[in-house]
């Protein structure tokens, strides 16, 4: 019976792993090395701006070890969600590192890149044909908002990766990609049933996060066969337990038992997790429910404005005991001043007082929004249509706030403790996620553009 050993280098390509763990795991007979490089967890900035998140040197170190070991063992490397957001600039950033490594080390191999950025006119055409439908909850997406957005990616399933592997690619760099697909593509190609390959993929995607106690980021491995799969961390100091594996199913999912992927849903309601040693867990019993229609998820980011901020502390107890009134009064004064000086209405910009020590972390959901401690941290947060406009508004805000009066002190007061000179900084463009939709496809590979390159 054919067995496939899947090796997950780590939970995120920029996080890293121990070199000795990866080397020994490959020597123990891994059939491929996978690694996820992206997520939407860090917010819309990376997709919107086209910038990668990871440090270049760290990413290069990790790719160097993975590709070197894979070439030695003649097994493929599969990277998903390249450069964090998986758009064309993120893909190119990653490909540049791979080509540089090949040059520096005189490596020769076939490289496949799969671009998942979707041109806006293509997406708008699909929208007109009714092929783009919202998930719940979803931002309102219209043809005009598609054209106004900065960038869209589609999240590929297993099929484009399988196409790259079938073309003989030894290193596959994929744009935005389902985490699970990175690990399910090759096993399914080799005849492992989907319910097993997809369930194993879900556990593998975070690297060593599924162990009982993760002391540091590292590799994870699974052996898949026709009946189930066995999880065993290649790092001998880590352990998997039935609890740690089953609990990992919950992580970052809204539903603990139904994992929706392109092409179908993995139902783990009846899954069984059994310890087969003090470090290894056998998993069986998931089901794969094929989707009626094949869809891929669409992610998009649109420019929301430009941000400038000031950080300040307030320590005066007389201000703190009336902070809401103080800030409310300040806002009224500011709106007038900004209108007078810059001819801007409150609807032309956003001004947020973020009060740490009251409701900075939870905002409107904070059940105890009043100051109880002896000081607060304050962020004056301005978002406007251009950076220069935000820069113009900011000094009005902090300088007015600095001297805004309270009745208990008669005479000019300075209310804000600024730790920095200058007190503020430009935060650059602000983006917002503008799509949580699916695209109904006839061909799972069609919107994804594969390029093969012999290095």
């Amino acid at each position: 019976m054919k067995k496939i050993k899947a090796l997950s280098a780590t939970g995120n390509l920029s996080t890293g792993f121990r070199e000795e763990t990866l080397v020994s795991a490959v020597q123990q007979g891994a059939h491929f090395i996978g690694c996820d490089a992206g997520t939407t967890d860090s917010g819309p900035y990376y997709l919107g701006s086209g910038k990668p998140r990871g440090p270049r040197d760290g990413t290069k170190r990790n790719l160097r070890i993975m590709i070197r070991e894979a070439l030695n063992a003649r097994i493929p490397v599969i990277i998903g969600s390249a450069g964090h957001a998986g758009g064309t600039p993120h893909l190119n950033w990653t490909l540049d590192i791979v080509r540089e490594l090949a040059r520096e080390n005189s490596w020769h191999f076939k490289l496949a890149s799969i671009d998942s950025e979707i041109p806006k006119n293509l997406l708008a055409a699909a929208f007109r044909e009714g092929r783009i439908t919202p998930l719940c909850p979803a931002p309102d997406l219209q043809e005009t908002s598609i054209h106004q957005a900065e960038r869209f990616v589609a999240m590929m399933g297993i099929e484009p990766i399988q196409c790259a592997l079938n073309s003989g690619a030894q290193v596959v760099i994929a744009g935005r990609c389902s985490d699970v697909a990175i690990y399910a593509a090759l096993p399914v190609l080799e005849g492992i049933p989907k319910h097993i390959a997809f369930h194993a993929g879900k556990i593998l995607e975070c690297g060593s996060a599924a162990v009982a106690q993760r002391f540091y980021p590292d590799c994870m491995a699974a052996e898949l066969d026709q009946d189930g799969f066995t999880m065993e961390p290649p790092n001998p100091t880590f352990r998997c337990t039935p609890q740690s594996i089953a609990a990992h199913n919950l992580y970052e999912n809204s539903d603990p038992f139904h994992l929706i992927e392109s092409g179908g849903t993995v139902d783990t309601t009846s899954a069984k997790y059994e310890a087969i040693s003090d470090r290894a867990v056998r998993v069986t019993g998931a089901r794969f429910i094929p989707a009626e229609k094949y869809t891929v998820k669409i992610e998009g980011a649109a420019l929301a404005g430009y941000r400038s901020i000031v950080v300040a502390g307030i320590r005066d107890p007389l201000i703190l005991r009336q902070l809401d009134t103080f800030l409310g009064g300040l806002r009224t004064v500011l709106e007038r001043k900004i209108a007078d000086s810059l001819k801007l209405n409150p609807g032309d910009y956003t001004l947020q007082f973020r009060v740490y020590g009251a409701n900075g972390s939870l905002g409107q959901l904070e059940p105890c929004p009043h100051v109880e401690g002896h000081e607060v941290g304050l962020i004056f947060d301005v978002v406007a249509a251009s950076q220069s406009l935000a820069q113009d508004i900011l000094p009005i805000v902090w300088h007015t706030g600095l001297h805004h009066p309270i009745p208990e002190h008669q005479g000019l007061i300075s209310n804000l403790a600024f730790p920095f000179s200058p007190p503020g900084a430009d935060m650059g463009p602000v983006y917002r996620f503008c799509a949580n939709h699916v695209w109904h496809l006839d061909d799972p590979c069609k919107p994804f553009r594969m390029t093969l390159e012999n290095l």
């Binding site: 939407t40 967890d41 860090s42 917010g43 819309p44 900035y45 998930l135 909850p137 979803a138 931002p139 609890q243 089953a246 609990a247 919950l250 992580y251 970052e252 999912n253 809204s254 539903d255 603990p256 038992f257 929301a304 404005g305 956003t350 947020q352 973020r354 409701n359 900075g360 972390s361 939870l362 905002g363 409107q364 959901l365 904070e366 059940p367 978002v383 602000v430 983006y431 917002r432 996620f433 949580n436």
Partner: protein, 104 residues
């Protein structure tokens, strides 16, 4: 009267994608799990009230085999949007930690 964290080994919140928040509450042992569930305090109604969402939007899963309660709700502000306060959604569980639980 005890607080919820005294019954649990983990209470966490996190994004489940940029548009939803998910909470995992894992209990120390079967006893703790049963006591809290029997108290009726931890319920979809409580979550709807605490997080100001419609009851119909609360996904509430009781996973006995893992001694875990998992809850998912829509985000009040999408992750990273102009008014967001917690891009990763990692601190929204705060108000649940000291939830007062009355046990018989």
């Amino acid at each position: 009267m005890r607080e919820l964290w005294q019954f649990t080994k983990l209470i966490r919140s996190k994004n489940a994608g940029p548009f939803e928040l998910t909470f995992d509450i894992m209990f120390k042992d079967e006893n703790c799990f049963r006591e809290v569930m029997a108290s009726g305090k931890l319920s979809p109604e409580l979550i709807a009230q605490l997080y100001k969402v419609n009851l119909k939007q609360v996904k509430f899963f009781v996973i006995e085999s893992l001694l875990t309660v998992k809850i998912s709700i829509p985000r009040p502000v999408f992750s990273g949007d102009v008014g967001d306060t917690d891009v990763y959604g990692g601190q929204f569980h705060g108000p649940l930690v000291q939830l007062q639980v009355e046990t018989g």
